[in-house]
């Protein structure tokens, strides 16, 4: 028996099953209960959004230079405005802001170059960002070379310090994490034991404790001529702490790669490092993008903890400004501003990771 002699031509879907109206009907108004919840939800949203917009934008005061310029009905962004450069540079001397600005601009340029797919020479840019840029940034920010006056690290602060801590932490934590993850999966007992102990130690201790130990305890034990800059100590503590988390994220990714991948690479005569570097790691890292970015974001926010050892990151400097007697009572504005800046950076990282995931997706795994 033959059912269909001719190929059945493609027909459009029935009316009212596709399109935005159908979506609304299917997802928000399918039945009386859901319709009530939808309307209720819209009402709650209205209650929250309208006063917020009113406070933050419509009734807000933007220009001025003292608290008298604020009407006190809406937000007083004058406070943020007046303190803006401090929020960006901390206690960095204002006549040297141009040095920080150059570093900021280069940093933004590098990020843009890496993120925009059309721009060429990504590999050279990566090398520049990892090898040359840190030297330039150090020379410019720290000074003491080429007639630049020295600006000691305890005057660094604000967003500049936050970005410095976060980028050094990320760039350091990823490779250390990779090595620790591989070490933990190694067959060599000494390497494995070392990695397990290292990871479990750093993961088991709160970051605050590590920062505190680095800043208060370490100088007690080390001879005074060996004293390391407080910022460097914080950087090392932060990097090692995050690399332990990173190692576990990457180990999870490595475990998700089928054994056959490593076997196929081995059967082609590849050495361990080539198998890892060319076959296993690229796949694992790709799968681990959400986890890695998650760690990066939490690292970014964890940088605020350096406050307890007397470094003024963005949040720290905002808090310090709040206790200024001329600006008492503007803590909401200060915290909202800090939260907004943090959110911008974290949200950008999150969006970029989603873009990367889509770009690197080459079909199903085997």
């Amino acid at each position: 028996m033959i059912h269909n002699k001719e190929t059945i031509p493609q027909r459009p879907a029935p009316k009212g099953t596709i399109g935005p109206i159908a979506w609304l009907r299917g997802n928000l108004f399918n039945g009386p209960v859901n319709s009530i919840f939808t309307l209720l939800g819209l009402y709650v949203l209205y209650l929250l959004v309208v006063p917020t917009v009113q406070w933050a934008f419509i009734d807000a005061d933007w220009v001025g230079d003292s608290r008298e310029d604020c009407s006190r009905v809406g937000a007083c962004w004058v406070f943020v405005n007046a303190r803006f450069s401090q929020f960006m540079y901390g206690l960095y001397p204002s006549e040297e802001y141009w040095r920080a600005n150059i570093v900021f601009a280069m940093f933004a340029g590098i990020i843009a170059w890496m993120v925009i797919p059309r721009l060429p020479f990504k590999r050279w840019m990566t090398l520049f960002a990892l090898l040359i840029f840190p030297v330039i940034a150090y020379v410019l920010l720290h000074g003491g070379y080429f007639d630049l006056p020295r600006v000691s690290t305890h005057r660094w602060g604000g967003l500049m310090l936050t970005l410095l801590l976060a980028s050094v932490g990320m760039i350091g934590a990823l490779p250390i994490g990779i090595v620790l993850a591989l070490g933990r999966r190694s067959n060599m007992p000494i390497v494995k034991t070392f990695c397990v102990i290292f990871i479990e130690f750093w993961r088991g201790v709160p970051l605050i404790t590590i920062l505190f130990m680095a800043s208060v305890m370490l100088p007690l034990f080390l001879p005074s001529e060996l004293s390391v800059d407080r910022l460097i100590r914080a950087l090392i503590g932060l990097t090692l702490f995050q690399s332990a988390y990173m190692a576990e994220v990457i180990r999870g990714g490595l475990q998700a790669i089928p054994k056959g991948q490593d076997e196929a690479a081995a059967a082609l005569g590849m050495t361990y490092w080539k198998r890892m570097g060319l076959i296993v790691m690229p796949q694992a890292l790709k799968m681990m993008i959400p986890g890695i970015v998650n760690t990066f974001i939490s690292l970014f926010k964890d940088t605020t903890l350096v406050m307890i050892i007397g470094l003024f990151d963005l949040l720290g400097i905002v808090q310090a400004a709040l206790s200024d007697s001329r600006w008492l009572g503007f803590s909401i504005e200060g915290y909202v501003f800090a939260a907004f800046v943090f959110w911008i950076f974290c949200f950008s990282m999150s969006r970029y990771s989603q873009y990367l995931e889509r770009k690197l997706n080459t079909g199903h795994k085997h």
Binding site: G260, G363, H366
Partner: protein, 263 residues
Amino acid sequence: MTQAATNNSETSTSDTSTSDLMVEMRNVNKWYGDFHVLRDIYLEVKRGERIVVCGPSGSGKSTLIRCINHLEEHQKGEIVVGGIPLTQDVKRIEQIRRSVGMVFQHFNLFPHLSVLENCCIAPMWVQKKPRKEAEALAMEYLERVRIAEQATKYPGQLSGGQQQRVAIARSLCMHPDVMLFDEPTSALDPEMIKEVLDVMVELAEEGMTMICVTHEMGFAKQVADRVIFMDQGQIIEENAPEPFFNNPQSERTQLFLSQILGH
């Protein structure tokens, strides 16, 4: 241990010079924990010989060929591949693996690399060939397995049969002296088995040394010089295909053949 193997005069290798032997396994034993997976394996494969290994699942056939390129480690006995004794030495293992190609049941193509890159990666990184040369070589072999037009695609975009042919090309790009096939058609839909077997038959006819774990008895009859039957970790019977299929000696072989040919 009773070895019911019945070598016929044609395949007995006692009078062959060692240089002609591609693979020698002498008294090879392997355990997974307490489980004795390979028991007193003796196997010699001459250059250009085509061997088919069959047997019920769990009989150790995959383990046997995986020992040849040290994807599995044997605990006792001696394995010599192309004149090089297989030891723990990593450099030596890698040297042997460069001359031994392997095709897996589940293809194991690298999903993050295109078909062409899958074929180029080992010539470029292991044999240090320049990219141009590696790509030309890869295209030549992709042509031979009739899949050159898919070179820029990713493995996930290909059918199982196409993926397995790419996997064969990937191995051939290393110019192996011997090819190991580990149930290459077991994971394929029936209509794709033939396209892979055709490639393997061509390879056999070109004189490639092949050791093939497979249940494709038609393929065994067509190209094999010897068929080896394994059960419970031992080689039970070993013979040329014609006598092997028509006149199996051991009871277990007869039972196995009746089960896979009988329906």
